[in-house]
Subunit: 202 residues, 2 copies
DNA sequence: TAAACCGAACTGACCGGTCAGTACAAATAG
DNA sequence: CTATTTGTACTGACCGGTCAGTTCGGTTTA
């Protein structure tokens, strides 16, 4: 990390944190956090191990901040979708956003999938909140669609919460699955498949 | 599993293997395989550590066989569903079977979820096959439904493979999610929610 | 009798976390 | 203007613990 020809330009205050984020994303996304050591992350980030513990208190905290970082980005994107007047269009946009996000930050999705339902994960609380907020967003879109849609669906409709969870699960899995097993699959067809869930409401 | 060229010996001594399966299921389902040591599994099964290595070559192999064991049970149940004449009813039964199976073997589901999309997992091949077969089953049910259903769905229908994957993901996640976050949620309402995906085909 | 199992000690590698020390820029004092 | 101090970012050797897997003499069971 010593630059011999060091120009007088700013020594780049601290991008160590960002470099560590990027490196962690890459490694953890591909192999899972258990299979990646702190030494390895540090090496990949071009930083010493001590720097990891200087910037983050622990490996767990590093991953926790990675999670916050990703969640913030995701919700920022969802905000646009929430403003769309038509509920169905809004939901469609939200799903597309989610799929794009997953493609862009695969390790976030992987971490989410593997830790979300592990009851005593280090990040159980953070993930439970994340899950809750995403599902609430989907459910409110569904509620709006139901209000706009058929007057009273005679069929004993699955309750909206369950339906919202199903959509959440389908999008999450489909988003990750296409990256691993069907790279040729377009986001469009995935969005359509997930939207099929809303058919009873239209 | 057991050596085929050893028929003369009674295969069923004290079924340590079965006890180890059960114990592993329990522990790994709750905490993840990385967080559970072999010593712990042996202790929980009331068996010595040596027995683990006598019956299985390694921890990884133990889990691999656990996966086979679970997959065999799952497919055995699916077989009944495949015989139902009406495609929609068959699929509905299949989903219900899956949800029950997940409730009964939560660790199988957890392991599946966390390892399926981890590209270099020890069990990547086994899981990829499992995934493929389940999705193929769902797709064939969907194909039958599409054939029985509306003459020609004018809308640019999401292709059946993608739809089948969405259903697979929704059922897997919903099945696991209800155990962790909504124990009060009945299997029935989950089945209905997943079946909502098939609405465009009916 | 031979396969299955016990139990307990042991090995060796790996890994998270620590810590004394370095580098260096900005602030402060003389 | 020079000398000293302070604070921040970072280094990398090292430590303690954990855990998969091994070994082996003795014991049970079909």
């Amino acid at each position: 990390m010593s630059d011999p020809s060091a120009p007088r330009t700013r020594v780049r205050a601290t991008d160590s944190k960002h470099r560590l984020f990027t490196a962690s994303m890459e490694l953890i996304g591909a192999r899972g956090h258990h299979e990646v050591s702190v030494d390895e992350i540090a090496r990949a980030a071009g930083v010493s191990k001590g720097t990891v513990y200087y910037n983050f208190g622990s490996k767990s905290e590093l991953i926790g901040e990675l999670l916050n970082y990703g969640a913030a980005i995701l919700f920022e994107r969802f905000e646009r979708a929430a403003e769309v007047p038509d509920a169905a269009d809004g939901l469609r946009l939200m799903i597309a956003d989610a799929l794009e996000f997953i493609a862009e930050y695969p390790s976030f999705a992987q971490l989410w999938i593997s830790e979300q339902w592990q009851s005593d994960s280090d990040w159980a609380n953070a993930l439970a909140t994340l899950r809750h907020e995403v599902i609430a967003l989907v459910r409110s879109a569904l509620a709006r669609m139901a209000a706009d849609g058929p007057p009273a669906p005679g069929s004993p409709e699955a309750d909206l919460d369950t339906l919202a969870t199903a959509i959440f699960g389908a999008a999450l899995i489909l988003g990750r699955d296409r990256l691993v097993f069907h790279p040729e699959r377009g986001i469009e067809s995935c969005v359509e498949a997930v939207m099929a869930f809303t058919a009873p409401l239209r």
